[in-house]
Amino acid sequence: MNTFTSLFTLLIFPAGLTLMLVGMFYEWIDRKLVARFQNRVGPRWFQPFADTLKLFAKEQIKPAIVNPYLFFGLPIAALAGALTAALYVPLMGLNPASNFPGDLIVTIYLLSLPTMCVGLAGWNTSGRFSLIGATRTLTQLFAYEAPFLLAMLGPALVAGSWQINTINGYAQNHWLIFTQPVGFIVALIGLMGKLELPPFDAPEAETEIVAGALTEYSGRGLAMFKISRSVELIIGLSLVSSFYLGGLNGIPSFLFKSLALLLVMSVLQVLLTRLRIDQTVGLWWRFGAILVLAQLLVMILWKGLAL
């Protein structure tokens, strides 16, 4: 019975199938908002579903020189990583399916698994566009990962726990966006970097390097990478809104807070143009990391003096 329940949580609800559907729905909201900001009508509500189904029904071409195990395994690993990370996060405002002390670190590392898989996939297919895309993906990973982790560290520090559930409980009484505004901004922009949304879409810049690391992927592999991207979107939104926007304690609060965040993110996407990869790295290390570190220092001092 126990195995059955865990399988159910893993594959159907709240992780697994439900999560993928919600992820695609959020992807549609994002595309629709961007379209409306650009004075367009935008896609219909089932667009991401149709895209995914179509990709699953298409032929998957294996380039001649790739390593087949890596080529077919990487999309599965990316999706599995993203879905596993979902277990520790208060998805849709419900209690996390499982938790243990320190699951924050595990979640953050599982969340970067899809990006690493994309990087490896680009290296494996060894087309020149995929190679450049993979290099940029991994460079960007090193750029935003540390500031994002530091921004997640702030709430963990004041809540005195490494457990997402405890921090979520703490945040319900404290709106950390007011006490740690820098952390919030860095976390939000870090999320945009993680999802490779504009202005951080240099790794898949269509006008320069075709489609980046995923240039050679078609059909099922591409669909799985796309799904893991939208799952990542949901997990990232849940993490940031539960840490900084007064916690998540139910489906309405999840919908309200995450949609508000998504709105801000799509405005930023429309407003800003693509940064060069060196500008991205410079932005993160010269401003993001230093500002968050300064904020952390202030918090540690404050905490030490208060005690």
Partner: protein
């Protein structure tokens, strides 16, 4: 039992066809056009006409695309690249040839450096005449491809429509 599996196949086929009709990713190839047609294709993608509302998206990589949009006559230089781009696309794939030049060679007919029309080189599903065709005509051509898909008789060589049949 047999009945059941037949029903399943039918349902799955319908879902697949629905998905194909509603999500068309295109890749654009200029095989020697004068750029007039390319500018009209770009105009089709701008907010004024916004084809994303039909699920049509321009993709960079032929590996991601369902539809190859070819403009212009095929020059000797472009011939090999056109074939290679076509071969790189995963099945099921469709080809739309846009502009008079890609249908017959147009004003470049008989040029020393041209091979001829697009369907001399790769199979074409829909022809869109005009020099250059208006964005409305291009959207109409894509709708024709969709109706063909619906009837399940795509990939059939068909008579090019005349300019009078197309809403301006």
């Amino acid at each position: 039992m047999n009945n059941n599996s037949q029903l399943w196949t039918k349902v799955i086929n319908q879902v697949r066809d629905w998905a194909r009709q509603n999500s068309i990713w295109a890749v654009h190839f200029n095989s020697g056009s004068c750029n007039g047609c390319d500018i009209e294709i770009l105009a089709t993608l701008t907010p004024r006409y916004d084809v994303e509302r039909f699920g049509i998206k321009l993709q960079g990589s032929p590996r991601h695309a369902d539809v190859l949009i070819v403009t212009g006559p095929v020059t000797r230089q472009a011939r090999e690249r056109l074939i290679r781009t076509y071969e790189q696309m995963p099945e099921p794939k469709f080809v739309i040839s846009v502009g008079s030049c890609s249908i017959s060679g147009g004003v470049f007919e008989g040029c020393y450096n041209c091979v001829g029309s697009v369907d001399d080189v790769i199979p074409v599903d829909v022809y869109i005449p005009g020099c250059p065709p208006r964005p409305e005509a291009i959207i109409d051509g894509i709708v024709q491809l969709l109706t063909e898909l619906k009837g399940g008789k795509a990939r059939k060589q068909q008579r090019p429509v005349t300019a009078e049949e197309i809403p301006a």
